[in-house]
Symmetry: D2
Subunit: 149 residues, 4 copies
């Protein structure tokens, strides 16, 4: 049976996920677009591990949230139904108002994709207004703890 | 080339859609779960054709909306990438507070699935509270115009 | 924090999953169609726990596989981003060539959906031909071990 | 009513699509990952308009196909349920074995995203082997006809 875990995490945070049938396509492999929700879920899991959330309640009834401004993915391999992937995450760049996460996705220790997500720190008010703001200090410190290199 | 439209609509409303690659799976066919968004989109298109919306603004700042309480689908055939499907919709049952839509999905005139969606008429307040309400008269009249049989 | 596991499984097999952002919709809840891949993934996990696969290689180069012929879901509650759901599965009916799985989905011990998937046992040849066949005895015995009631 | 078409296509090929409910997320907007299937569907529509297919049958029983090696998207705006988007496509770069498509996605004439997809020309044999090959001349000529600039 092939269901052993890959153990080759070199970044600050690593998670695993098994490929579900809905993520495959008629070419018999994971659809290229399905990798992006995988990245996002790894990012959210990283945030939870730091005591943060991608929708963090603020004192004034609003939320701190992180809309995406860029996403990239380079594919060097493929994944199939029931494959177990490891997804590594690190903070590659921390700006005043933005963060860029870097990801490596592996299957059986071999990288099959490298990717980035760039998100902007925003205040979302209760009535749905979204404004970019500097990353609060306590959030910044936690994100720095998972910086790459 | 196979891209001609099926023209065999026997229900009050009919729409078409071409299968996208993301809706296929590793068995080479449309994933069974992908049919449900197809049904919903046909329902929404039906509502727009009646001058309604699945998120209808109300005078008090809230919305009239239709959460689903049941979904069923029986599969008698399959669909593949780039197939052109016709989706027929009718109102099968109109209750005081609920509506059940019936659907037939065809590929080249052959039915490949029959399905139902049951939705409840609800008031959604601006602060997110959801309460079931009787279907307003003007909405009811429009839905009756697309009843089956 | 809300991330404790629901522990109220009354069926033969139970799994958990956390709601991902991609599974939510603009109503702020999990899209009704997203429950179907959840059911299927629970079914596949059940099969793996029995030493089976939804795409079981056969000696002749073909596969034993289980195309769906029916799916139903009744929704009695909702789920939100990051909710942790428990999904219970049992074999509700075992025919000569088909199996119907029953599912209960819970959030914090409260059922939010009950559902069924009906699948037909098929031989898929290497060249893509699909023929329904009686469920092989060894597979039947394993499925009987997770029958409801 | 807002359902008029944007007509501001400056690239060689342009298509439209209406946002479906399944493509929205709990932030009330289209999920960032949903843009990638939109791009791919526009690419496939472009290919069909050129008399090509993303899975072109070859004389020897195999197929000419185009696995993705890179995808990027920069988000400068958002889209909501029922918005009508225009998606422009051009061939940005045509290599010996690869093609990079450039995309601009607009809502009401305003760009909300620019994106690229890079695909490699491959022969897929009947038994599933995938090998990169030079883009055949007749395919190359058709792709050149939709080059940007």
């Amino acid at each position: 049976m092939k269901f052993h875990y890959a153990r080759s995490c070199s970044m600050p945070f690593c998670t695993q996920r098994r490929i579900e049938f809905r993520d495959t396509d008629a070419a018999g492999i994971v659809h290229f677009s399905a990798f992006f929700p995988f990245l996002e879920s790894a990012e959210h899991e990283l945030l939870r591990s730091l005591g943060l959330s991608v929708m963090q309640p603020l004192d004034d009834g609003g939320h701190l949230t992180w809309p995406r401004v860029a996403a990239t993915c380079d594919y060097t391999g493929t994944a199939k139904f029931e494959d177990l992937l490891s997804i590594e995450v690190a903070v590659e760049h921390l700006g005043t108002k933005s963060v860029r996460y870097g990801f490596t996705i592996r299957r059986d220790a071999s990288p099959i994709a490298t990717a980035t997500l760039t998100a902007v720190c925003c205040r979302l008010t209760a009535d749905g207004q979204l404004t970019s703001i500097p990353i609060p200090d306590d959030v910044r410190q936690r994100l720095e703890s998972v910086a790459s290199g």
